[in-house]
C-alpha cells in the first residue's frame, strides 16, 4: 500500500472515513514510521485545537431577532423602493422599442414593421434602401442574385 496522502491523514484523524478504510490506513501507519509520525502530528494538532472551547453568550438572541423584525418590517419598503426603478426601466425600453419600430416603418417600403429584416426570399431586395445604406457587401451579393433572375423569387 502506498503512503497516506495528506488528505487521508486529515480524514483519518477527524474520523470521517468508513471503518474499513480507516482500518487499512491505520494498518499501514503501524508499519510505516513516516506515516505514523504524520498521523501522530495531526492527532496532536487536532487535540490542541479541540481544547479551545469558546464560551458563547447566553443572552436571548431570539428576543433580539424578534425585536428587530418587529422594528423593521423592511420587505414592503424594499419592494416600493425598487418599483420606481423597474417602472422607469420598462418605460424607457417601451419608448426605445416604439421609436425603433416607427423609424423602421418610415424608412421601409411596407406598412408592417414587424420582421427584424426584409424577407429576401419572398419580397426581394429593396434596392433603393440598400444603395442608400450600403453600396457594398450585401447589396453586391443581391445584385448578383438579381442578375441571375431573382433566385427563389420566381418560385412563388
Amino acid at each position: 500500500m502506498s503512503h497516506l496522502t495528506p488528505t487521508e491523514v486529515i480524514r483519518l484523524v477527524s474520523g470521517e472515513l468508513p471503518p474499513a478504510h480507516a482500518a487499512a490506513l491505520e494498518a499501514h501507519a503501524a508499519a510505516c514510521p513516516d506515516c505514523a509520525a504524520r498521523v501522530r502530528a495531526q492527532r496532536g494538532l487536532w487535540s490542541v485545537l479541540g481544547a479551545d472551547r469558546e464560551r458563547t453568550p447566553g443572552g436571548d438572541l431570539a428576543a433580539a431577532v424578534v425585536r428587530r423584525l418587529n422594528e423593521r418590517p423592511a420587505e414592503p419598503l424594499r419592494i416600493w423602493s425598487r418599483t420606481p426603478v423597474r417602472v422607469a426601466a420598462a418605460v424607457l425600453i417601451g419608448i426605445g422599442t416604439g421609436y425603433g419600430a416607427a423609424e423602421w416603418t418610415l424608412r421601409g417600403a411596407g406598412p408592417a414593421p414587424a420582421p427584424v429584416g426584409p424577407d429576401l426570399a419572398t419580397a426581394g431586395p429593396d434596392v433603393e434602401l440598400l444603395v442608400t445604406m450600403s453600396p457594398v457587401g450585401l447589396y453586391a451579393a443581391l445584385s448578383d442574385l438579381d442578375a441571375d433572375g431573382g433566385g427563389t423569387e420566381d418560385a412563388s
Binding site: 488528505t7 470521517e16 509520525a37 496532536g44 494538532l45 443572552g59 431570539a62 423584525l69 418587529n70
Partner: protein, 197 residues
C-alpha cells in the same frame, strides 16, 4: 408582530421552516434557540470578535426568517444555515477590511488588533486562536467548519460553494501551517517527518 413562542423540541428544523414559510412566525423562536450557539460560534471564530458575532447571528436569523419561503429541504438544514452565516461573515469581513484600510490610510498605521486578541482566554488558548486567526480567510473558514463544527469535506464544499478538492487543499495547507506554529503545544511534540516519497 412576531410573537415569542415556547420551545418546540420535538419538531424538525425542516418542519419549523415549513411553518415559517407558511407565515407561522411562532416557529422562529425555536429555530433561533436551537441554532444560535453554532451560528455565534462560527461567526466569532471567523471574525474573532464576540460583538460582531452576535450582530451576524441576528442578521442570519432575520435573513432566515425573510427567506424561509425559498428554503428547499434538499440539503440538511444546518448546511443551508451555515452557508447563510458564512456569506454574512464574508460580507462582514470585507467591510472590516475596508474599514481597516481606511484607518491605515488615515492614521498611517494599523490600529485594529488582530482577530484573536479581543477574546478572553488563557495564554495557550490565545496562542491557538491567534494561529487560527492568522490563517488566510479561506483556510480559516475551512478549519473552523472542519474542526469546530465537525463538517465533512463535502459539507464544507456545500457551505462554501468551493469544490471538494479546493476544500481539501485549504485544509492540508492550513493544518500544515498550524502544526508548524503550534508544535510546542503538542504533547509529545511531533517528530520531524521523514523524506516524502
Amino acid at each position: 408582530m412576531v410573537p415569542i413562542a415556547p420551545s418546540h423540541d420535538d419538531e424538525s428544523d425542516e418542519e419549523l421552516m415549513r411553518r415559517l414559510a407558511a407565515g407561522d412566525t411562532a416557529a422562529l423562536t425555536p429555530i433561533v434557540q436551537r441554532h444560535q450557539e453554532r451560528v455565534i460560534r462560527l461567526a466569532q471564530r471567523f471574525l474573532g470578535r464576540a460583538d460582531l458575532a452576535e450582530d451576524v447571528a441576528q442578521d442570519a436569523f432575520v435573513k432566515l426568517y425573510r427567506s424561509a419561503a425559498m428554503y428547499q429541504p434538499e440539503a440538511r438544514f444546518t448546511t443551508w444555515l451555515y452557508r447563510l452565516v458564512a456569506n454574512l461573515c464574508w460580507d462582514r469581513r470585507r467591510g472590516l477590511a475596508r474599514a481597516r484600510r481606511r484607518e491605515q490610510e488615515h492614521d498611517g498605521a494599523a490600529t485594529v488588533p488582530d482577530a484573536a486578541t479581543a477574546m478572553e482566554a488563557d495564554e495557550r488558548t490565545q496562542r491557538v486562536r491567534a494561529a487560527v486567526a492568522a490563517l488566510p480567510d479561506r483556510q480559516r473558514l475551512a478549519v473552523i467548519l472542519h474542526r469546530y463544527h465537525e463538517l465533512s469535506h463535502k459539507d464544507i464544499a456545500t457551505v462554501t460553494g468551493w469544490s471538494v478538492s479546493a476544500v481539501e487543499s485549504c485544509l492540508v495547507r492550513a493544518y500544515a501551517t498550524l502544526r508548524e506554529r503550534l508544535a510546542d503545544l503538542m504533547d509529545p511534540p511531533p517528530e520531524p517527518p521523514g523524506p516524502r516519497r
